[in-house]
Amino acid sequence: MNGQLRKLPLTGLLLLLVLAFLLDISAGAVRIPLHDIFRILLAPSPGDDSSWSFIIEKIRLPKAITAVLAGCGLSVGGLQMQTLFRNPLADPGVLGITAGASLGVAAVLLSGGSMATIYAIKELSSPGSWLIAGAACIGAGGVMLLVLVLSGRLRDNVLMLIIGLMIGSITLALISIWQYFSNPEEVKDFLLWTFGSLGGVTGRQLLILGVTVLTGLVAAFLSSKMLDALLLGENYARSMGLTVRRARTIIVCTTSLLAGSITAFCGPIGFIGIAVPHLARLFFNTSSHRVLVPACCLIGTILLLLCDCISQWPGTQSVLPINIITSLVGAPLVILLLVRKRDLNVNAYR
């Protein structure tokens, strides 16, 4: 690929990104004129109609920023997993990290007093947003450690993939037990969490999410060369002087950081992680991760921002959970693009 051709979609996507961000800021249940939005964004003055500035500054802006972070993180995490396992169906949750985060959240939301220790946690502090995020981090981290320990004993990435799926399966079974013995209200809270949400991350939480996701993204970009080598097969990678096991550890850690932190704050957001890498390969027609990592960031962000706009369609008072929209709107879009392209760039994985 030469750079000239690549610039075309890049400029287009950058433009689209800005448009999507503005659209997301201006879409919502409350109609706020565009010039007022700009006024509030550029010069927030205390004399404003306080409900408008509250909506823009405290609801829409954090939500849009969260969408950007989650869109980047999940797409890049998915790309890394697809490359590591050379499997087009892999996503950031494939190693059970998302399920681990869910287990952590289930422990907090679903205890129903059945476990004395959990009850004590509830007594200490009602399950505030920090507690949920913290529990999700512990759950995701625990599964990641388990995966890493097991990965040290394995040579083959495919075995790794299967073990990841098995761990995810065990974790989900544990959650089901909890759900089974919980009150309907608790199950409903947990269910809402699994629907995913971009709206609950503000203030310091947004800062933490931003720092972790950016760290993960930088790490992913720096390991581009490693990922390129892995694409050609583990033996080839070894012949290039790559320590496969070390590369695997780095990639697993990066993806865990991305998927774990995003799931902790936003809940499990599906689809983006699996679809965006395909779109990135399609648009940029390359398998070089130096291009694909930023491309995934761009496309993932645009897609998630647009999905968020749709989830709060103007004129409706309700907001649909983001997970519903990503699948309902995103999947047909990907099907359409792939059908037009007719064949998947199979070489990208093997």
């Binding site: 919502g28 249940a29 409350v30 306080s50 409900s51 509250f54 909506i55 405290k58 609801i59 829409r60 939500k63 129903g112 007093g113 059945s114 009850y119 509830k122 502090s125 009602s126 399950p127 505030g128 947003s129 920090w130 089974y180 013995f181 009150n183 309907p184 809270d189 809402l192 969490w193 629907f195 949400s197 971009l198 709206g199 609950g200 503000t202 203030g203 809940g267 709060q312 008072q317 309700s318 907001v319 959970p321």
Partner: protein
Amino acid sequence: MVRNNRGHGLLSFFASLLLLAGGCRQRAAEYAPGRKINPRISVRYAKGFTIDYYEGYRDVSIFDRKAGRTDTLHYLLVEKGVDPPVNRPGLPVIVTPVERMAVISSMHIAMAEFAGVADRITGLGSIQYVNSPIVRAGIRAGKVKQVGIDAGINNEAVIAMHPGVLIVMSNPGTGGGTYKTLTDAGIPVLPDADWLETTPLGRAEWVKLVAALVDRDETVETKFDSLARSYRRLADIGSHASPKPSVITDMPFKGTWYVPAGESFMAQFLRDAGADYHWSDTKGTGSLALGFEAVAPVALTADVWINLGNVDSKADVAAKDNRFSSLHAFQTGALYNYNRRVNDLGSNDYWESGSMHPDLILADLIRILHPGLLPGDSLYYYKQLK
């Protein structure tokens, strides 16, 4: 098919014998259909059920209100020692007065308590969250056992217990598929749809169904009438009070803010308490799932915030989401939660006895919204979050 009563199988066995003998005498004359008699009580507020009285039995109709009162479930409450009427074949039969009952929700405990028969509860959906001292004593003594809820119901435990009736929380329209094993085993399963009622008194009036089960119709009606009088008197004071402070309820979770719909009993509470409730004119008997942003303009300026959920202090509220501290009601400290009566098990009596004491809840709400309007200022179910 639902088996009517335990004698039925034997009866049909003999009936077939008689038939085989060539006679037509199986139409036993002594099973004359009961004569309709004057109603012993009337149902005034609840829309989901009626009771018709016949000699020797009651006919309870439970309506699927979504189907417009056309789809009706019938239960025959037949007095002990009286044979079920032959002209109503195939209907589930409950022998009254019920001596032992299994119930699912805390609302049912409250109804039994109100009717003075809490000691007849032998099975509970979950024995974790109970307030009634009688039932708690029963649990300690091992007399009250856990039977599970909905699909998780422990059929074997219920069958072994063999209660006179199992009262479940159910929508009458969804049918009894979940409970087929139990009805096949001869345990009548009675759906309680009090939660579909649109007024607090309508919900509480379902207690008359429990009263009919234990043959205390008149006593409970008298008690309920006095409750209704007390509620209406308070509602008269509350709904005429002015100015009406604006109110928001509940707390959003993950961007979704569930608020009571206009036809729900909570909205009725707010109207009766003299609140200015933004969604009072909306359709629906449940709750509206709104986005944070859709509620924000109302929430920012609301005078009072009630029913906040699982929080015990202002710090808890801010820990849920720091944006809540921007709300007017948060800044003025007008946060009132329904958790004054949470016991050592973490069980909230608001959900239990509160459902049978709408007058106390209404009095709390009026005292919160219109201080000084009622004599005294102590709250019963609610407390201010500090």
